[in-house]
Amino acid sequence: MVDRIVLEKEIFELVSYIIVSARNLLEEPARYGPFRLVESASWLIRILEGAGVASDRLSSIRAMIEEGKHTVMSTEEEFKDFLESLVLTQVNNIDSGPS
């Protein structure tokens, strides 16, 4: 049984991250925007896994995000390639969800 109070605290933390990011991104470097989005996606998947909602396709995309997200500090091309690979992986996984 998922502890609803723990789950609510985790969701609240993620929502705060997203809201503060939205405010700060008005003045921050443009590429921080996509970084915050994929970071939020990874964070959401981690919360869901803790709550018993997991799948191979979600775990794999989260692993890819964690592996490549810091390319935001590398060249623009490297970060773009990383984001492209995420999109293509996601598309390939559309039909492979749990049944």
Binding site: F12, E13, Y17, V20, R23, N24, E28, R36, E39
Partner: protein
């Protein structure tokens, strides 16, 4: 440790083990911080150390740049009222920021020598951080330094010397 080895070996760490950082180690980092230079020797920095897990969680919530779940953070703030009294408009608007950055660099290098990982964070909401840390209105947080035991050290990004450094005049080549 050789200073150049520390300068070149230090990385921005964004992944930490869960191991806490002791108070003695944090005090050493603060000692390094307050020995940084400051414009007009103003010394208007104020440092707030956060280690309590619940307060760290709250700090994370309003600091999107605070990545990797560090066990500790040093918030570098400035007494802007004092900075203005000591340094005028320049002191408040310019020197205070530079002083914070120089204090941060001292923390980073001292931490590296101690085997600790750090990252300088500017992505946070100053007003929200002020509330969480109960900062008076005239104390403005300018940087956060995450501190912890590194779980991973990123590779060094390249430096393009040929695009950065000139001799005597802009565009001037090596005079040797």
């Amino acid at each position: 440790m050789d200073v150049m080895a520390a300068i070149k070996g230090r990385r921005s760490v964004r992944k930490f083990t869960g191991q806490p950082v002791g108070k003695e180690a944090l005090l050493k980092l603060l000692d390094a911080a307050v020995w940084a230079p400051s414009g007009g020797n103003a010394q208007t920095w104020r440092f707030v150390v956060v280690t309590d897990p619940e307060r760290m969680r709250r700090l994370r919530m309003v600091s999107p740049g605070l990545l990797g779940r560090p066990p500790a953070a040093i918030v570098i703030a400035q007494d802007l009222a004092l900075a203005e009294r000591k340094g005028g408009k320049m002191g408040k608007e310019s020197l205070a920021k530079m002083d914070s950055a120089m204090a941060a660099q001292n923390i980073l290098l001292a931490a590296y020598e101690m085997g600790l990982g750090t990252c300088v964070v500017a992505s946070f909401h100053p007003g929200a951080v002020g509330r969480i840390l109960k900062l008076p209105d005239h104390i403005l947080p300018q940087l956060i330094v995450s501190v912890g035991h590194p779980a991973a050290n990123p590779p060094p990004p390249p430096r393009k010397f040929e695009e950065l450094i000139w001799w005597e005049t802009y565009g001037g080549q090596d005079c040797s």
